[in-house]
């Protein structure tokens, strides 16, 4: 390791040790796990309890059925709704509803309409009643028009479509790859946003504490900025790793408790090459953004009041662009944005999952992201050299441009 990278590594380990707080990470892990289990597991547990209560006859909805002959309705066994014949006058039935003996009175007017008499809003179970009525009405209408149910099913059935590929084409990306692509784009943004806070504190805080001059009298500004980028990247990666770990534990706990979770979250069958390519792109994009933000931070005098804080939202723009191109992965816009460094990584990743990306396009997009990151890193050091010793005012855009040229 030469002197430059030795110094950069020293700064990066120092920054990592300062900003990676294991106790806070453990708390974060516990909170994420707890919230995840509360949201998904809690909902499932509540449903299980209510289902059991339904089976045991609790929460039952009992409806007195008037004019049942006009439309034969049948409630499914596993549901909450039960029908009983209306064997009393309308007034007596209304009194029973008011007394809570039955939930309501359902009056059938042929296939035209049905009328429901209740004492309380039926919102919680009306959604269950509607399919029962719809099914009864469909059956009655089919019978009245002499249409066999099989004929209807044949009419409504989708047209099967089988896709075949020529030998030269690559196989379509699996669903796991598509999920992985979205996850990769999401976690890149998560890492960038998660790490920005410490990166800004690490750079502007040092300026506030008047330590900078002492440090850069010993090492080059480039080594300092490289160390900052690497150190705070490691802090951000540790945060992402912690989040991923909490996801793994979350799903393990869900599986152990036999609780269902979304079936689309399944990375089995993901292509390792796709994982590698999207991972490398994500890493390059992440470092490029960190180089950019280290340059921005070097110009900020007071992070609490600086208008330049608005730059923090910039990484959201490529995300929006990439999502907008989901339906058009082979469009001219998608191709152009594959070579525009801020959007290259998410657009290429999604294109790889949704379509086919020639190797040269992926390589060129990646090279442009790396080159931009490298240039931003040099620019950051030049701006920092002068900007970090300016106290009380922020350098103007003109000054920064001059430093970048003269540096």
């Amino acid at each position: 390791m030469n002197g430059h990278w030795r110094a950069a590594w020293l700064v990066s380990t120092w920054e990592f040790q300062r900003f990676f707080k294991i106790k806070e990470q453990l708390w974060s892990f516990a909170i994420m796990l707890g919230v995840g289990l509360a949201v998904f597991g809690g909902g499932t547990l509540v449903k299980r309890i209510t289902d059991r209560e339904t089976r045991e006859g609790k929460n039952r909805v009992t409806l007195a059925l008037e004019n049942a002959a006009g439309l034969p309705v049948a409630a499914p066994e596993e549901g909450r709704i039960r029908f009983e014949p209306a064997d009393a006058t309308r007034e007596e039935l209304a009194a029973k509803v008011d007394a809570g003996d039955i939930t309501g009175v359902l009056t059938i007017h042929g296939t035209d309409r049905a009328e429901l008499l209740v004492a309380k809003s039926p919102t919680s179970w009306q959604g269950e009643l509607a399919p029962i009525l719809n099914a009864a009405r469909s059956t009655a209408e089919l019978a009245r028009n002499n249409i066999a149910p099989e004929a209807v099913a044949a009419v409504l059935a989708p047209m099967p479509l089988e896709v075949a590929y020529t030998g030269a084409s690559k196989k379509p990306a699996s669903r796991a790859d598509k999920v992985l692509a979205v996850a990769m784009v999401f976690f890149t943004s998560f890492a960038v946003f998660g790490g920005l806070a410490t990166l800004f504190v690490g750079i502007t805080g040092e300026k506030t504490q008047r330590v900078t001059e002492l440090v850069i009298s010993a090492i080059s500004p480039q080594a300092w900025i490289d160390g900052k980028i690497i150190g705070h990247s490691l802090v951000a990666f540790a945060g992402v790793l912690n989040t991923l770990l909490s996801f793994v534990v979350f799903y393990t706990v869900m599986a152990l408790l036999d609780l269902p979770f979304p079936d689309w979250i399944d990375f089995r069958g993901a292509d390792p090459l796709f994982l590698l390519a999207s991972g490398v792109l994500a890493l390059a994009a992440f470092l490029m953004w960190f180089a950019f933000f280290s340059a921005v931070a070097a110009t900020i005098d007071d992070p609490n009041t600086s208008a330049r804080n608005a730059f923090l939202f910039l990484p959201m723009a490529p995300l929006g662009v990439a999502i907008g191109l989901l339906g058009h992965p082979d469009s001219a816009a998608a191709l152009a944005l594959s070579f525009f460094p801020p959007t290259a990584a998410p657009v290429l990743t999604l294109r790889m999952a949704l379509s086919e990306v020639p190797l040269w396009q992926g390589a060129l997009g990646f090279a442009l992201v790396v080159a931009t990151g490298w240039a931003l890193r040099s620019l950051a050091a030049k701006i920092f050299t002068v900007g970090m010793m300016m106290h009380g005012k922020e350098p103007s855009w003109r000054e920064m441009w001059r430093w970048a040229r003269e540096g």
């Binding site: 120092w14 040790q17 008047r210 440090v215 009298s217 010993a218 090492i219």
Partner: protein
């Protein structure tokens, strides 16, 4: 001090630095000899900090040259980090970390291993009255003690050349005296020191040579004796006079630079450089009834105030210049 045939450790030749509309350093040149304490003095805004930053390579001069003669860096315009120590005027520490870790990190930047840094830091902390406090956070220390930690961090790697900008600020008189001793000790151990400070009475006790800056230029340069000659300041007489005081004869005397009457009959007389005191004392007999006489050499403070004050007066626009402006 160095042998005369040895090249100077630092040779600065007509350096200039301009910021926007201000010329912070204007044709400054000097040498720092090996093993000496070289004091760089001047009022606020004289260009000292800019000069120091150029000496360290943090900023580059617009014109002129800086050349070091250091092992492995012969002719270099900036010193290698492991050979230079720096205590900046604008200073601070990582307040949220422990003292030992902070020192070890800063020492590591100058090439000291973690183990060596820890050992040396513990020794220095003990010497400076901070024994047992290495694991405390920096923010727990008083300003003076933080100053000690900063000093340790600037010399822990045993540099050949140390640049100390205001090393006495924030220290009480006892610790100022102690630091004075430390500077002498460092010099005796072979470290060349460039010192900038406003405490003239301390500087004149430790500096081998002095450069006084004003408005980016050198206005005085040399040993204290040379400065006295250059400034044209001779001995100072202090008279204790009973009764009425008449300074007319004294002020008219050709060997007298200035004569002032203070409270309680104290009269201060500044003689010209090289003037004999006998004729002045004879003239002083006319001042009044003299009860006591004391003579002393002009202090660095006197020389500094006079030199910088004269330079400031030169920079004042004349009425003619004002009219033409």
């Amino acid at each position: 001090m160095s042998q005369s045939n040895e090249p100077p450790l630092l040779h600065v030749e007509r350096i200039e630095k301009r910021f926007e509309t201000v010329k912070a350093v204007d044709g400054l040149g000097f040498e720092v000899k090996r093993g000496e304490v070289f004091a760089l003095l001047g009022p606020n805004g004289a260009g000292k900090t800019t000069t120091v930053r150029m000496l360290l390579g943090i900023n580059r001069p617009d014109a002129g040259s800086i050349r070091y003669s250091l092992p492995g860096a012969e002719g270099a315009s900036a010193p290698p980090p492991h050979l230079v120590g720096y205590l900046p005027e604008e200073r601070g520490l990582f307040k949220d970390t422990t003292i030992l870790r902070t020192i070890a990190f800063l020492a590591g930047l100058r090439g000291v291993t973690r183990e060596d840094a820890r050992t040396r830091a513990l020794e220095w902390l003990e010497r400076l009255g901070l024994k047992g406090r290495g694991d405390e956070k920096v923010e727990a220390l008083s300003k003076g003690n933080q100053q000690k930690v900063q000093f340790i961090a600037s010399i822990i790697h045993r540099p050949a050349f140390a640049i100390l900008d205001e090393p006495f600020s924030g220290l009480d008189p006892v610790n100022q005296e102690y630091f004075l001793g430390l500077l002498r000790e460092l010099r005796d151990a072979g470290t060349t020191i460039l010192l900038s400070a406003h405490q003239m009475q301390l500087v004149e006790r430790v500096a081998d040579r002095i450069l006084v800056m004003s408005r980016g230029r050198a206005v005085l340069h040399g040993t204290l004796a040379e400065l006295r000659r250059e400034a044209g300041a001779g001995s100072r007489l202090t008279l204790k006079v009973a009764g009425a005081v008449d300074l007319g004869a004294l002020r008219a005397h050709p060997s007298v630079l200035a004569a002032e009457a203070g409270p309680d009959g104290v009269v201060t007389v500044q003689a010209r450089e090289g003037a004999e005191l006998g004729p002045i004392l004879a003239a002083a007999a006319n001042v009044g009834a003299i009860e006591a006489v004391r003579t002393e050499e002009p202090t660095l403070h006197d020389i500094y105030v006079r030199a910088v004050g004269d330079d400031a007066l030169k920079s004042e626009p004349t009425p003619a210049a004002e009219e033409s402006a």
